[in-house]
């Protein structure tokens, strides 16, 4: 893990770009004093969680079970590797969130295989759907498995460790020429869900497509994401966790920290770095080097991020 420890002294543009070149297995989040910090899922995480006890949770994303193209002929295998890493952690996280694209084609067998592997963590998993989870003919397989107790197309909230978590769905009713979409019904629910909450309650919003505009030319953003963010204005600590783009990106705006997680299946190119956002084929020997782990630390009253990248190999 040496050579990729970005420390606490801020993040240079070069290092942010370097981080974006890795595809990883998951991000470990821990909450200390109500402020989420994310940590690498192996060595650094173990050290940090030991030093700072509190609620810990994991984020994994974009497992694309069923994907078998050249960029990674065995997406189920790399998901299993990620799960093995999680299981090897000495400090068990409280739960996990999965930010969508569990499957590649929404086939029942893909959902079953994903569940068979992910359940080996023996963690509660809070899912939100990606667009790849809603493409079965009747659009019912995701909801049958993960929709219980949710509203609309599958949004919901829960509280854990003093933090209010909100899972949003921005992959339905997409409009021609547009980006991800939350829709009026979900935004009204969000406003209602937050009503009466103390502004000191840390908020975690999670959804598949980035809620902020990363790269509209590739559809990497949410049309009405700004309206969701208006509803969390005034809260002291807001963390937005997304997937979809298969690489780490981060941004801090005021009290809001945005972060996208890596995929467990295949990397995608940096914005504009390829003709399309499709799966990025790298040399076989490099794939697991790109399936590294990342950690991000948030410190209260400081807006600087500390990022640690740890490739699994090489």
């Amino acid at each position: 893990m040496s050579g990729h420890d970005h420390g606490d002294d801020g993040v240079s543009r070069r290092k942010v770009l370097e981080c974006m070149t890795w595809a990883g297995t998951g991000v470990l989040w821990t909450v200390t004093g109500g402020v989420p910090r994310s940590l690498g899922i192996i060595d650094s995480a173990q050290a940090a969680t030991a030093a700072a006890p509190g609620m810990t949770f994991l984020q994994i994303s974009d497992s694309h079970v069923g994907f078998d193209k050249p960029a990674n002929p065995n997406a189920l295998g790399t998901l299993e590797e990620a799960v093995n890493k999680i299981n090897a952690m000495p400090a068990k996280p409280s739960f996990m969130i999965h930010t969508g694209d569990i499957t590649h084609l929404s086939k029942a067998s893909e959902f079953d295989n994903a569940d068979r592997i992910i359940s080996q963590t023996k963690l509660d998993v809070h899912y939100v759907p990606g667009e790849h989870d809603f493409i079965d003919e009747e659009v019912k397989l995701y909801r049958e498995r993960y929709g219980r107790g949710t509203k609309g197309h599958g949004w919901y909230s829960f509280d854990a460790g003093g933090v209010h978590f909100i899972g949003l769905v921005n992959v339905v009713d997409l409009k021609a020429g547009g980006l991800g979409n939350l829709g009026a019904e979900q935004l009204a629910w969000l406003e209602d869900d937050l009503r009466g909450k103390s502004k000191s309650t840390p908020i975690v919003l999670f959804a598949h497509i980035p809620l902020w505009t990363v790269y509209p030319q590739w559809g990497w953003g949410t049309e009405d994401g700004g309206r969701a963010l208006e509803h969390v204005k005034g809260f002291g600590s807001v963390t937005v966790l997304n997937g979809h783009i298969h690489q780490v990106m981060q941004k801090v705006e005021g009290n809001v920290t945005f972060h996208t997680a890596r995929s467990t299946a295949f990397p995608q190119p940096a914005p504009g770095a390829a003709p399309s956002p499709g799966p990025m084929k790298v040399e076989d020997a490099k794939l697991r080097g790109m399936l590294g782990v990342a950690s991000v630390s948030f410190k209260q009253n400081e807006q600087r991020l500390a990022i640690i990248d740890t490739p699994l190999q090489g």
């Binding site: 084609l105 997409l174 021609a176 020429g177 399309s276 499709g278």
Partner: protein, 111 residues
């Protein structure tokens, strides 16, 4: 997933000649057209066709796509190399897009 018409069947098997004999009613019209999906782009993005023309979309990406024209036609999810065909029997402008990646748009003008 795959939308196969009889014409595809014949061509796929390399039996175009036999197909033309056995299936004269589905013999490919000279003005039937193909659109490819490559790198998240419909190519060509705009087509001008005559009424009665059949257009066939083929997904050549490693990621699934759809072809949707609101209220007019909607393909199933097209995995790699899957095809979708639609015969345009009415004149008009048909804007369409991929419902999974809505920044992908195209237009068929039928006269």
């Amino acid at each position: 997933m795959k939308t196969l018409n009889r014409r595809d069947f014949g061509v796929d098997l390399g039996l175009a000649l036999a197909a033309a004999i056995l299936l004269p009613a589905t013999k490919a019209r000279a003005d039937d057209l193909e659109i490819h999906i490559d790198n998240f782009v419909f190519q060509p993005a705009e087509l001008n066709i005559k009424v009665g023309t059949t257009v066939t979309w083929t997904n050549r990406d490693d990621i699934p796509h759809t072809v949707v024209s609101a209220g007019k036609f909607r393909s199933k999810t097209l995995d790699t190399d899957d095809k979708f065909s639609f015969t345009f029997t009415n004149a008009g402008d048909y804007k369409y897009f991929c419902s999974l990646h809505p920044h992908m748009t195209g237009m068929i003008k039928v006269e």
